[in-house]
Each structure stands twice: as structure tokens, then as C-alpha cells.
């Protein structure tokens, strides 16, 4: 088991940042483990979600932001639904992902690449272009044959559009992306 030296590694600012950005109070967590018991992803996490909560309480920024758990969370809302202290745990996980992105500490590169490919499609066309998103993911991630076994199935059942559907207001959607980028520059 990994031992953490709390005197050396506690980041007090981090605790406050998580609190502020999520609007939640992680100190309310008394480690009952209900979230971990219900979480479908516990088997796949490096730190179960209740431990992530404990790591927040002790300000373990580096461990949390580089963890795989925050990226493998699917926001299925089981933890939030079952927390006896009514902490919106799934929202906290969301905030941690956002922080990890901001600090360039994403551990699960493939998941981030998939999300980025998805968002690029929306920026370009206004709606999701499924085929394009998959091709873009495969090229960027280097996993060239991801889901190639599904190709014949979707073709045989006529389930996909080969060409993107560009909406009339796609520039307006792209503007949301641009204005957001500008706001980042303005506010830091």
C-alpha cells in the first residue's frame, strides 16, 4: 500500500479550489463507502471514489489529478444519488477532470482524445458526425482499427450517415467555442 506523508504533500489551496469550483463541501464525507459500493467502475479505478473524496480532504492534488479514476468515471450519478450526506460526488469528479485538463495532467489520454474528437465534430458541423468522430479518434489515438469490427454491422443495417449533416447555424455553435476561448484569455 502506498503511504502518503501528509505533512509534506497537503495542498491546502487545492481543498479550497475544489470546494469553490464544485459548490460542494467534501469535508462532509465521513467515509461510509456507499459511493464506492454502488460505483459500477470501482473494479477499474486505481482509487475508488470514496478514497478520492478522502484524498480531497487531505489535499492530495497530484495523486488525484493524475489518477485514472477521475477519467473512468462515466457520471452515472450512482454516488450522487446514494450519498447520505447529499454531496454531489459525480459533480466533484467532473470538476477534478476539468482541473486535470487545465493542468495538463490527464492520465487517460485515449478518453480525452475521444472527447476532443467529439467536440471538434460539433465545432465544425454543429451536430455530432459519428463516422468522422470515430475516424478522427482512430487517427489521433493511433488505435487505427478501433471498432472496425462494427463497420460491417452498421453498414448491413444501414445505421449510419457517411456524410456529415452541417446545420445552418454551425457558425453560431463555433462561436460558442471561440467566445469560450476568448473568455479564458480574459480571465486567465
Amino acid at each position: 500500500m502506498k503511504t502518503i506523508n501528509l505533512t509534506e504533500s497537503t495542498d491546502w489551496n487545492f481543498i479550497e479550489e475544489v470546494k469553490k469550483e464544485s459548490g460542494q463541501d467534501p469535508s462532509l464525507c465521513y467515509q461510509c463507502g456507499n459511493c464506492t459500493a454502488g460505483c459500477p467502475y470501482s473494479n477499474f479505478y486505481d482509487y475508488p471514489v470514496s478514497q478520492i473524496m478522502r484524498l480531497i480532504q487531505t489535499g492530495q492534488k497530484e495523486t488525484i489529478l493524475t489518477s485514472r479514476a477521475i477519467w473512468l468515471c462515466a457520471t452515472c450519478e450512482t454516488c450522487t444519488t446514494r450519498c447520505p450526506c447529499e454531496i454531489d460526488v459525480a459533480h466533484i469528479m467532473d470538476v477534478l477532470r476539468i482541473m486535470a485538463r487545465r493542468e495538463n495532467k490527464v492520465s487517460e489520454k485515449d478518453i480525452k482524445t475521444f472527447y476532443d474528437s467529439f467536440l471538434d465534430s460539433i465545432k465544425k458541423f454543429g451536430r455530432l458526425y459519428e463516422v468522422g468522430t470515430l475516424i478522427s479518434y482512430n487517427l489521433r489515438s493511433g488505435h487505427l482499427f478501433t471498432d472496425s469490427d462494427l463497420g460491417p454491422k452498421v453498414l448491413a443495417h444501414n445505421k449510419i450517415h457517411f456524410l456529415p449533416k452541417k446545420i445552418k447555424g454551425s457558425e453560431k455553435v463555433a462561436k460558442i467555442f471561440e467566445r469560450y476561448q476568448e473568455s479564458l484569455k480574459k480571465h486567465g
Binding site: 450519478e77 485515449d110 460539433i122 455530432l128 444501414n158 453560431k172 455553435v173
Partner: protein, 322 residues
């Protein structure tokens, strides 16, 4: 139902891999007299990827659509996809709660959103606004062989604070709709367990393993098909079923239909109209076994007569050979 007009936001999946969900929702809405209109030039809700970037940004992608609907003078949007539904509900929640947040979202938009649109799942519209009585009235056909596991997925009814519909742990709306159209509904323990959601592409193995649990539990419950209300659940359980078999060594071959397709079957629509040809694991056996209500009644009477005859035969036999 009279006079209420809904905006109908189908979402991106329903234009692609979930086209049959869109087809069947529209047919059912038409059959039940739900008045709906598609918002013009709607865009993607932002889904899961957007809220890993920033919550203001994610809310803006969702709110662009809500703003279009607001301008149309409508106050309720019917949403078939739970990911879109949650994107709308979260945007609405944060914007109503926090004036600064609302301003920041509106700064990203061309047309301001004033928080006057309420998002409801298609399931909720059918269950609460149309009602079970109306849903039953329209039934023309019976599918005697069908035993269905109602699978709601993780975020159709959760978190309760946002969903404000049905029970978050043991929802019953879909159970009741399917019972109302005469289908046998199984007692299914994994109604809200997560199938693996949007990780199908980057984390196939993980999704396959989670989906396998859902299918296996449905089969254990005695189901011969699964009803879903989410395009991602359908994709993970149906399109990826062969992958699941390869990953987990299982041998599943169970049809996964949208609950609206099942309602459509009971309403007598053709498989083509309902997009049943788009399912990877075929549900044709249910189409073949489907009979009209009249045929079903006749069959039942004949069976009962048969039973009476059997009883009489038995009595005679008993008399002759005491």
C-alpha cells in the same frame, strides 16, 4: 393532452445509429395525439465531452437549444436521449441557481436564454402527460411470447434532484407502460445499473464487461428481450453484443429494443415503420408471433374450451376406470 404543444429535441444519436428510436417515438406520439414540433436548426447538447472542459461552456452548448425553444414560445421539450436530457437539466439547474453563472453562459450565446424551458424525457411525457389509460386504448396487437426486462439506464431518473421523475433506484414508469400494452414484464434488478456509457470507443473492454452484467441479469430474470430508453444503452447492448461475447466468453443472443418500438408493435405498426431492421440482434420472432387482439381472445377461448374438454375427458376416464 389537448392543446399542449411540445418541442421535440431528438439529438444527434437519433439521426445516426439510433434512427429507429426517432422513428418509433414519432409514430407513438402521432398515434397518441401528442402535438410536437422539432426546433429549427438545433445543435448538439454537448453531451459528456463538454462537461469535462467547463460547466459554463457545456451549459452554453445546451442552452443554445433551449433558447431556440423559448423563442418558439414553448415551455416544455420532450427529449428521448438521457444524455441530452441531463445536459438540458444541468444547464437549467446551474443557470437558475446562480445569476453570475447564467450571465457567463449568456455571454457565450448569440441569443440569451431566460430559463423558461422545462426538459422532460419522452418516457415521462408518455407516462405522466399521456397516461396509461390512453396508452392502453390504442393497443391492437398482442405479443404473447415476449418477456421483457425494462432497462432504464443510469441517468434517465438520476440524480433525483435534477430528474424529478419516477424513483431513482427502482423506477416503474417503463414497467407500467409495457404492462399497459399487454407485455409480460420481468422483475429486473439492474434497471439503473450503468452499461458503460460513452466509453465504448476508448475503453471497449470495460464497457463490454459492464454491459455483460446487465444482459446476464436480464436473462436470469427470465427475459427474452431488453427494453431501453437510451441510444447509448442500445448501442452498448445490441451493436456491441458480439464484442461482449468475445470479451467475456458469453454466448448472448438477446434482442434489445427501444421501449417505443415495443409499444409500436402493440399498436400494429410494421417492422419497417418501427425500424426493427436496424437492430443487430434480430427481434423478428416477436413480429412473427404477434397476433391481433381478436385473434388473441379467440385463442384464449379455444384454449379454455380445450381445458374444459380435457377436464371432461378426465372425468369420463375416471368414471370408466375407477
Amino acid at each position: 393532452m389537448a392543446n399542449k404543444r411540445y418541442a421535440y429535441y431528438s439529438g444527434c444519436s437519433l439521426e445516426g445509429t439510433a434512427l429507429e428510436y426517432d422513428k418509433s417515438v414519432r409514430l407513438i406520439f402521432d398515434a397518441l395525439g401528442v402535438d410536437y414540433i422539432e426546433p429549427e436548426d438545433w445543435s448538439c447538447c454537448g453531451s459528456t465531452p463538454a462537461h469535462t472542459i467547463d460547466h459554463v461552456f457545456a451549459s452554453a452548448l445546451a442552452a443554445r437549444n433551449l433558447s431556440i425553444i423559448e423563442k418558439m414560445g414553448l415551455d416544455t421539450v420532450a427529449v428521448p436521449c438521457p444524455a441530452c436530457l441531463m445536459a438540458f437539466k444541468k444547464a437549467q439547474y446551474f443557470m437558475e441557481k446562480d445569476e453570475t453563472f447564467k450571465e457567463k453562459v449568456n455571454e457565450l450565446l448569440d441569443e440569451k436564454y431566460n430559463c423558461r424551458v422545462y426538459a422532460k424525457s419522452t418516457l415521462q411525457v408518455l407516462y405522466e402527460d399521456v397516461g396509461l389509460d390512453e396508452i392502453t386504448k390504442r393497443v391492437t396487437h398482442v405479443i404473447p411470447d415476449m418477456k421483457v426486462a425494462p432497462y432504464y439506464g443510469c441517468i434517465t431518473n438520476r440524480p433525483p434532484k435534477l430528474a424529478q421523475f419516477d424513483d431513482p433506484e427502482n423506477p416503474i414508469s417503463m414497467d407500467k407502460i409495457l404492462s399497459a400494452i399487454g407485455v409480460e414484464v420481468c422483475d429486473f434488478a439492474f434497471k439503473v445499473e450503468c452499461c458503460g456509457a460513452a466509453f465504448g470507443v476508448p475503453k471497449k473492454d470495460m464497457v463490454n464487461r459492464l454491459s455483460a452484467k446487465v444482459i446476464s441479469m436480464a436473462i436470469d430474470a427470465g427475459a427474452n428481450c431488453i427494453a431501453v430508453a437510451c441510444p447509448l444503452c442500445q448501442q452498448n447492448l445490441d451493436l456491441r453484443q458480439e464484442q461482449i461475447n468475445k470479451t467475456t466468453g458469453s454466448n448472448f443472443n438477446i434482442p434489445v429494443l427501444y421501449f417505443t418500438q415495443i409499444v409500436g408493435l402493440a399498436y400494429g405498426y410494421s417492422p419497417k415503420e418501427l425500424g426493427l431492421d436496424k437492430l443487430i440482434v434480430s427481434a423478428d420472432n416477436f413480429v412473427r408471433s404477434r397476433i391481433t387482439k381478436e385473434q388473441y381472445e379467440q385463442l384464449k377461448q379455444e384454449q379454455e374450451k380445450g381445458k374444459e374438454k380435457d377436464v371432461k375427458k378426465q372425468e369420463i376416464q375416471e368414471k370408466e376406470n375407477p
